[in-house]
């Protein structure tokens, strides 16, 4: 395994450094070409997202000077860049890539975007021929591992933003959000974001009330909704299933008696109040009413924190999967490393056998078919017996660290000219290649 990876990410480098290395999508193909033209690099690709820039390569001898490539390509001083770089080789590079694809190295562990970004980087590099055999195998495996992590752990299953938690809770109350009405009280940025999330999940009409009516109109227009005068709030609020409130009022604007009125007018159909105001807009006693659910900013943040903790727990399970997959990948690669030598050895001995038979055939005179078969069987038997020990040794050495040494010894003993192994594995399926999200 002559894989080598270099890069920086949100943990190793501040934004100022990351943005100097960021490669626009349009320049990725050229960068991949430059990379493969760099001395010592057989195949290479670049992953560039807002949180990371990484170069993954398969090298001729496992020791390409990737730092030099970065310095040259980005015209950066070593002193400015090197302290933020990490570099992995062989097994460690494989592990790192598997972790990246499975979103274990992301800022928000478990987020789904990174896999799509890696797939897109892979597709770009493959399109320009920068990824062929070795990296093809590595990335195909990385995508399969990421899929396994997603299906066998819950690392990406829970929401980790306030807006998405609000949507999740609304779904636990209403099932589908299709046709549910949303009321925004107080035209703040946070409530706009939450409303946008809810609308994206199919909510129906939107109403906006604000003390400054013009601002209500402005926000309502963004959602193709309806602006409501603040004094009409209590008469219209029951039309909404979900209320997002974030006014700057110094006291609660929704109290128990309002809740009772709303429920009575709604025939007790549930209402969900998302209160992101500080101080709170919804009085705590309103949440005690049957059918009214209130979540304030602390409740939502607590839910987010709980989900993050859950993800961390799941990430531990995911790490175990990655570790076992790295071992499997390494074992498979090692086996593949000795295959060309075995094939070459078989070819070599078969050539000798054929040459010897041809050489003595004239001296043996005319042979009957039975005699021909006997000679074939005899010579093949000898060759097989001679090959048995070296092949067994090669196969068992493939699983050990001494594989390279044994391969070299066998090559020298038999004077083998091993062709580079045929590396044309099945490319990743087209539908596995995602799009940048």
């Amino acid at each position: 395994m002559r894989y080598q990876l270099i890069g920086l990410n949100h943990k190793s480098a501040p934004l100022e450094v990351r943005e100097r290395l960021a490669i626009p999508e349009s320049r990725l193909p050229d960068t991949c070409r430059d990379l493969t033209a760099f001395p010592g690099i057989e195949e290479g690709m670049v992953i560039s997202t807002c949180n990371r820039v990484e170069i993954v390569t398969h090298t001729t001898n496992g020791h390409a000077d990737l730092r030099a490539f970065l310095h040259d390509h980005f015209h950066l001083d070593a002193s400015a860049l090197d302290p933020h770089l990490y570099e992995f080789r062989e097994k460690d590079a494989v592990r790192h890539l598997f972790r990246v694809a499975a979103s274990l190295d992301s800022m928000v562990v478990g987020e789904a975007q990174i896999l799509g970004q890696v797939k897109e980087a892979y597709a770009t590099a493959r399109a320009v021929g920068a990824v062929r055999g070795q990296l093809d195998q590595l990335f195909s495996r990385a995508f399969a591992v990421a899929k396994r992590v997603r299906s066998e752990t819950a690392v990406g299953s829970s929401s980790v933003s306030i807006a998405s938690v609000a949507v999740e809770l609304a779904k636990k109350i209403f099932g589908t959000l299709q046709g549910k009405n949303v009321f925004i009280v107080g035209a703040g940025k946070m409530s706009e974001l939450a409303a946008r999330h809810l609308m994206a999940h199919g909510c129906g009409s939107i109403f906006v009330a604000n003390r400054t009516y013009e601002r209500a109109i402005g926000l309502a227009q963004k959602f193709d909704g309806q602006a409501i005068k603040f004094e009409d709030l209590y008469n219209t609020c029951d039309r909404a299933d979900i209320v997002i409130t974030s006014t700057g009022a110094p006291h609660a604007i929704f109290r128990k008696e309002h809740g009772e009125q709303f429920l009575s007018r709604r025939k007790n159909r549930p209402m969900f109040f998302i209160d992101i105001a500080v101080p709170r807009d919804v009085s705590p006693d309103m949440g005690k009413l049957d059918g009214i659910f209130t979540y304030d900013i602390d409740d939502l943040q607590q839910a987010v924190a709980g989900h993050i903790a859950d993800r961390r727990k799941e990430a531990e399970r995911a790490e175990a999967i990655i570790a076992s997959e790295v071992e499997k990948f390494e074992a498979r690669q090692s086996t593949l490393d000795v295959v060309p030598t075995i094939v070459s050895l078989q070819d070599h001995l078969e050539t000798i056998r054929q040459a010897e038979i041809d050489r003595v055939r004239g001296r043996m005179g005319q042979l009957t078919p039975e005699q021909e078969m006997a000679v074939e069987a005899l010579t093949r038997g000898i060759i097989n017996k001679v090959m048995h020990t070296p092949i067994t040794t090669l196969k068992s050495a493939a699983k050990e660290s001494e594989a390279t040494t044994v391969v070299d010894v066998v090559k020298r003993l038999f004077n083998l000219q091993v062709k580079d192994r045929d590396v044309h594995p099945q490319p990743a399926k087209k539908d596995e290649v995602g799009t940048r999200q």
Partner: protein, 272 residues
């Protein structure tokens, strides 16, 4: 043979029973699938048992054991319909224990207990039993849904999301299950009671409907609670705690009405 099939069904329902208890503390998709398939298998055995009983002419419509078996089967049918419509096994938390209990009693190797009075109009009796049991099955489902609603509502209000929140369907879905069961069950229950009255009037040894008889009194009470549930839901949209209290009351009244079979002068059971 019918008893043997019923016991196979009981074995399958036992898995559902275990699931019902486990699901309250922790959830597992795999276990949910196993329980669902076991319950489906149980229904097949149960159906074979009922069919064999019917085809062999051994069916005694007024037998308590046959009644329990039929009620269990109808409850499972409702459960399956809900599964097809809403893709949730969560009503099983309530339905499976009830079905297991009914099937267990029905599968006991005892002489069936029979209605002692001689019934002259068998058709009315069959209609009465099927209608009233369908009403009971719907009531069980509605009761189960109101309990699940209450649990889910409490969990959401506690603001400490647990795995149970994920296991149970959304509040409005549970509400729909309960309300639809209620609406479906009410006409069956009403018609069941009416056909029961016809049976009573046309049976020579009874000949009338005595509203002071414990069975009749409790059945009417149960029906009245049922009606109040439908009305309050339709008129004021009662859900949650109040609906659960009413549903529990109706369920207890139904149990009491069932138990009254042993005390009623008109609807009396005795050993054959």
């Amino acid at each position: 043979m019918p008893l043997l099939w019923l016991r196979f069904a009981l074995g399958c329902y036992f898995i559902g029973l275990v699931y019902a208890f486990v699901a309250l503390s922790r959830t597992s998709d795999l276990f949910s699938r196993i329980a669902f398939h076991a319950a489906s298998m149980g229904m097949v055995f149960h159906f074979v048992s009922l069919t064999e009983t019917f085809l062999s002419g051994q069916i005694v419509w007024a037998s308590v054991h046959n009644g329990e078996s039929l009620l269990a089967f109808l409850s499972m049918t409702f459960f399956m319909v809900i599964y097809v419509l809403y893709k949730t096994t969560s009503p099983g938390v309530v339905v499976f224990p009830v079905v297991f209990f009914l099937t267990f009693v029905a599968a006991l190797d005892e002489q069936p207990v029979l209605l002692t009075a001689f019934v002259s109009h068998k058709g009315w009796l069959i209609a009465h039993i099927i209608l009233i049991f369908t009403g009971y099955a719907a009531l069980i489902l509605s009761f189960g849904a109101s309990l699940l609603y209450l649990i889910q509502e409490r969990r959401l209000k506690a603001k400490k999301p647990t795995s149970l929140i994920g296991f149970l369907p959304a509040l409005e879905v549970i509400d729909q299950i309960g309300y639809r069961s209620l609406l479906l069950g009410f006409p069956f229950m009403t018609l069941g009671l009416l056909t029961g009255s016809v049976v009573a009037i046309t049976t020579p040894t009874i000949g009338r409907v005595d509203f002071l008889d414990p069975k009749i009194l409790l059945s009417v009470l149960m029906w009245a609670v049922y009606m109040v549930m439908v009305f309050t839901r339709w008129n004021s949209g009662w859900r949650g705690r109040r609906a659960a209290i009413l549903a529990s009351f109706a369920f207890v009244a139904a149990l009491a009405a069932w138990a009254a079979n042993y005390f009623s002068a008109m609807h009396r059971f005795g050993t054959s």
